[in-house]
């Protein structure tokens, strides 16, 4: 390590957690003390621990691999998870993601991590039943490590660098795998130009999942109609920030099977949502961001009956398949100022 450890005058591990919380260095849950021995174990095999991965706003903290490792230890990560955490922070550092807005906004957004490729099984990143919830070591600790880095290195501290009015539970941890095995189409990372055998992580700055319950639909149109309806909530940012953002739909395997069973491709899904997920100008005038909107110049803002789409073109729908049995899909609105980014997870650091 390039920095020296500090000495805490405490008697046991519990007190380390309490002391870190007192100093504002934790998320409030117990941490694994980042001792020199544990951090060295996390960094085993890393060729350049001082390599800078990203400079994180609003604190402008330097997220080096070794500092990421300190936080990964605290989060409870196994050492083999570190390269996923590093890849996620690489993605978060890309300008298109606009991390400053996600870190500092009053809006309840946090980066969701979606892992694709064989590494899902290798590390046990879960994309099946209950994947957004608790109970999965890799999901919980990889997501938590990213959050701790954003807090400690990036300064995303509630009420200070993070001005979220409420935030959301994904600010503890927000990480899933895509359920590629039950995806009837090509997976997300292949949509993004990667080989099917590549390992990737995609970051999406979004709200907590909004449930789409459809237990009766047996056609693509019925299921996607309810999904589209969930995308045009007048209290969300997306309908008003069409020029600058995307919309993510996480289909459950059963819904995806029904849609694909009707012969619909992912592009068909996007085109349908583009036509269906719309509000009239009259309705949008009653929304929470009226006159703060960012719309493409070609939008018809003269006629109250004009139906304006929730994204500027169909390619801005991000389609993912995840979850287990059941007929619940989920929509993930954003701040309106961020775009998802996918990067390859390196084999070695």
């Amino acid at each position: 390590m390039s920095t020296a450890p500090l000495t805490l005058d405490v008697d046991d591990v519990d007190e380390v957690s309490w002391e870190y919380a007192r100093r504002g260095w934790s998320d409030g849950l117990p941490i694994v003390p980042p001792t020199p021995e544990r951090v060295a174990r996390m960094l085993a095999g890393v060729t350049d621990p001082e390599r800078l991965i990203a400079v994180l706003p609003p604190r402008n903290g330097r997220a080096t691999i070794e500092m990421i490792a300190v936080n990964a230890v605290m989060a409870g990560c196994r050492p083999e998870y570190l390269r996923v955490v590093v890849a996620a922070l690489t993605a978060l550092g890309q300008p298109a993601f606009n991390l400053r807005s996600i870190q500092a906004t009053t809006h309840p957004a946090s980066p969701l991590l979606i892992v694709n490729g064989p590494i899902r099984q290798e590390l046990g990143v879960h994309g099946g039943s209950g994947c957004f919830g608790a109970g999965f070591l890799a999901n919980a600790t990889i997501g938590r490590a990213v959050r701790l880095v954003l807090r400690n290195v990036g300064g995303g501290i509630p009420g200070s660098g993070d001005r979220a009015t409420h935030g959301h539970p994904g600010k503890y941890s927000y990480c899933i795998a895509e359920n590629e095995e039950e995806n009837p189409w090509q997976p997300l990372h292949v949509d993004r130009g990667f080989d099917a055998g590549a390992n990737t992580v995609t970051v999406i700055g979004c709200e907590a999942p909004h449930n789409i319950n459809n237990h009766v639909g047996d056609t693509a149109e019925h299921i996607l109609g309810t999904c589209a309806d969930g995308m045009i909530d007048l209290g969300t940012n997306n309908p008003f920030a069409t020029k600058t953002t995307q919309m993510t739909l996480v289909l459950c395997p059963e819904h995806a099977a029904t849609v694909a069973g009707d012969g619909w491709s992912k592009d068909d899904v996007r085109k349908y949502l583009y036509e269906r997920a719309r509000r009239t100008l009259r309705e949008l005038k009653t929304g929470g961001l009226w006159n703060m909107h960012s719309w493409p110049n070609w939008y018809d803002v003269e006629h109250d009956d004009a139906r304006l789409p929730v994204v500027s073109d169909p390619s801005n729908f991000v389609i993912v398949v995840a979850g287990g049995e059941g007929k619940h899909s989920t929509v993930l609105p954003t701040t309106g100022s961020t775009r998802s980014v996918t990067v390859e997870i390196p084999a070695l650091l």
Binding site: V10, P33, T35, N60, G61, M67, V153, A241, M292, S294
Partner: protein, 93 residues
């Protein structure tokens, strides 16, 4: 006693050159980049009017970002730098 690491790491320094303050505001050009938030826009517009009326500054108008939490475009920044001696920014609501 236990040895542990501080998880915050170092800060990347940002160096911002601050121009010398003018002795007189009269004749200088004032403008704004408004961030779409109503109250910030209200405040900024009022300050510009005050600077023009009371201090003789030239009002070059208010430019508007695409959305509150995206940065101004390079084109907007270049135009603003070219046309203004003083620029007000709105960030809060």
């Amino acid at each position: 006693m236990i040895e542990v690491f501080d998880p915050r790491g170092e800060i990347e320094p940002i160096v911002v050159a601050r121009p010398a303050y003018p002795a007189d505001l009269r004749g200088l050009r004032v403008g704004a980049i408004e961030n779409t938030k109503h109250n910030a826009g209200f405040l900024i517009s009022g300050i510009i009017r005050h600077l023009a009326a009371e201090h003789g500054m030239v009002d070059t108008g208010v430019r508007r970002k695409d959305f509150s939490s995206v940065g101004a475009t390079v084109e907007m920044l270049d135009e603003t730098a070219r046309d203004c001696d003083l620029v007000l920014l709105g960030t809060a609501d």
